[in-house]
Amino acid sequence: MQVHLGGHLSFYDAERRSWVEWPDAAPLTLRGLAERLGLPAGEIAFVAVNRRLAALDDLARPGDRVEFFPPMGGG
């Protein structure tokens, strides 16, 4: 599974990567995936699976492309 840590969320990866390869295994919820990656749920405003808006309770499956983004509040 390819996982994108958009914006400042890459800071939660020890190597500051914006894309990480999550080992394909059993399906898990996006919330569970975020927890395992150390992403605080409160800092995720937008999540997409295979380029479609998803909810944190949706399942991510092996082979999916998952993208997490923080709130983009400036202007």
């Binding site: 400042h8 983004f69 400036g74 202007g75």
Partner: protein, 346 residues
């Protein structure tokens, strides 16, 4: 070509607009809420394109550190501490004297937003915080007006065009108001001018399409990160049938049950700022302290389990674990709300 259209010849020749489209632009009314970096780009494009009536609404004034990205302003505006709405209107009148530009120096809130957008065909988001955007979302959904969300931080940004009843509203997409302190802001994470110009230009293009009724609108969420050279558009699907705003028509930000609230603390030159509603779920003080350290005086942020304290931008910030803040050094509630949005984030 009609003389009134001559100055717009290059976009009248463009088949997507044509003479009929230009006449629609000249007859249109657009409200731009927030005249910072994004708002500057939006207003600049629409004034030059000949949108007949522009209402520019902003609560802030021009500072020197705005000039790196806020394209309508100059050093003179900053030296004179001009309100952004005033400086922007003056600049736009020099660019296009044939349109009507109205400046409104005000903090947009539940009490005034419906009046400010009542006659607008399109509402554009030039704000810098989610409390204001959720309020815009409430008002536009209630009144059935299209609006364009723009959000930018650092080198990345997003934009989506909300057409009530047709595309998902902001609440459909993002759910509850982000918790205070959870969002990096342009004042804590920085921002570069080109990403603002890019996202603002996409949104201005959406306004042209909404007004002319031509072209393909952005039904998805466009995301760009210039530093990663990433350009994406995500599918959003239909409005959520369980959305509290556009399905249940509960307008909690408009009804002032939620959103940013300010209270001037008499005799202290201080203002209390709080964020209420479903999104107020407390604040991670340790994480906020880390974000504030680079902008705090001498890099000093003191924190305990109950509050943190820092001197930033000439003001004393005391932020409590429940998200409430007391900002000393001003008695101006709008200024305190701006400081809260800049440094704590909503």
């Amino acid at each position: 070509m009609d003389e009134a259209l001559t100055r717009y010849a290059r976009q009248v020749i463009f088949p997507g607009i044509g003479e009929a489209g230009q006449r629609r632009l000249l007859a249109a009314r657009v409200a731009i809420i927030g005249l910072g970096a994004t708002g500057s780009v939006l207003a600049n494009h629409l004034a030059r394109a000949g949108v007949g009536r522009l209402r520019l609404i902003d609560r802030d004034y021009v500072e020197l550190n705005n000039l790196q990205r806020q394209l309508l302003y100059d050093e003179e505006d900053a030296a004179e501490l001009l309100p952004k709405a005033v400086a922007a209107a003056a600049r736009l009148r020099r660019i296009n004297s044939s349109i009507a530009v109205e400046e409104v120096v005000a903090d947009v809130g539940p009490a005034n937003i419906q009046a400010l957008i009542a006659d607008a065909d399109v509402v554009l988001d030039g704000t810098d915080n989610f409390a204001a955007r959720y309020l815009i979302n409430d008002a536009c959904v209630k009144l059935g007006k299209p609006w364009v969300y723009c959000g930018v931080v650092a080198s990345y940004g997003m934009t989506h065009t909300v057409r009530p009843g047709v595309t998902p509203c902001l609440r459909c997409i993002m759910g509850e108001l982000p918790a205070p302190g959870s969002t990096p802001t342009c004042d804590t994470a920085g921002v570069i001018g080109p990403i603002v110009a890019l996202i603002g230009s996409i949104a201005a293009g959406e306004a042209l399409k909404l007004i002319t009724g031509r072209g393909k609108l952005n039904d998805g969420m466009i995301h760009v990160d210039l530093w990663d050279n990433a350009f994406e558009q995500f599918e959003l699907g239909a409005p959520r049938p369980d959305c509290p705003t556009c399905a249940a028509r509960q307008f909690e930000f408009l009804e002032a049950r939620a959103g940013t609230r300010t209270t001037s603390l008499c005799g202290r030159a201080a203002v209390q700022v709080s964020v209420g509603g479903a999104g107020a779920q407390g604040i991670d003080l340790a994480a906020l302290a880390e974000r504030l350290r680079p902008v705090a005086a001498s890099g000093r942020v003191r924190a305990n389990p109950y509050l943190l304290h820092a001197s930033i931008d000439g003001h004393e910030f005391t932020v409590f674990a429940d998200g409430r803040a007391i900002i000393q050094g001003t008695a101006d509630e709008a200024a305190a709300a701006t400081l809260y949005a800049k440094y704590v984030g909503v």
